[in-house]
């Protein structure tokens, strides 16, 4: 899972498999964002889950949030090669900064 001073996590899977990436956070947050970053580009938001939601779905993506354990997960169903990217969770405590986790590098092979 990502956060703190841990190094970038790496996952390698085959096309068609399901994958889950975990994130634990340390401070209060009103929302957890999940971003993906493709090579040579900036991160882009893919799904956002609010503190009053336990689960959120968008296409093949599913995000969960457990505020009691301060953890979130992002699952991708039937991963495809184009899902290869670095995925970040980020928290927003309603201040003026969004704080990012350390990221998970996902490699999906044909």
């Amino acid at each position: 899972s990502q956060w703190g001073e841990e190094n970038l996590q790496a996952l390698s899977i085959q096309e068609g498999e399901d994958v889950t990436m975990n994130c634990s956070y340390k401070t209060y947050t009103t929302v957890v964002h999940w971003y993906r970053q493709d090579s040579g580009r900036g991160p882009a938001l893919i799904i956002l889950i609010r503190s009053n939601e336990r689960e959120k779905r968008s296409g093949r993506l599913r995000a969960t949030l457990d505020t009691s354990s301060q953890s979130s997960s992002l699952s991708i169903t039937a991963a495809q090669c184009e899902d290869t990217a670095v995925y970040f969770c980020a928290t927003d405590s309603n201040t003026d900064k969004v704080v990012f986790g350390t990221g998970t590098r996902l490699q999906v092979s044909p």
Binding site: N7, L8, G40, R50, D92, D96, K97, T102, G103
Partner: protein, 116 residues
């Protein structure tokens, strides 16, 4: 479709030089940010501006200074660069309004700085 534009894409310079990076957003957002991304992909916020006013100033060396002429532009100047400044500098904007928790960030493609 990119709506946050950063220039240059790459910059190679020597220790001690001054560099300047530009960022412009065409999304009409009030808030802009600079993040630094190191070689391990770690993203750290450096500065945040809301409507030309500095609102977040993380602990960064004094050689870094942001500059905002209007809410659509946020530049970053580094006086006398050091080797540890080698990184990707990412600019972002958000439609943040007071008290809103939907602080979605829209990033530019980044400026990769190499300090020799």
């Amino acid at each position: 479709e990119t709506a946050v534009f950063q220039t240059p894409n790459y910059h190679v310079t020597q220790v001690g030089n001054e560099v300047s990076f530009n960022c412009k957003q065409t999304l009409g957002h009030d808030t802009m940010y600079w993040y630094k991304q190191d070689s391990k992909k770690l993203l750290k916020i450096m500065f945040s501006y809301n409507n030309k006013q500095l609102i977040v100033n993380e602990t960064v060396p004094r050689r870094f200074s942001p500059q905002s002429s209007d809410k659509a532009h946020l530049n970053l100047r580094i006086k006398s660069v050091e080797p540890e400044d080698s990184a990707v500098y990412l600019c972002a904007s958000s439609p943040r309004t007071g008290g809103s928790s939907q602080n979605t960030l829209y990033f530019g493609a980044g400026t990769r700085l190499s300090v020799l």
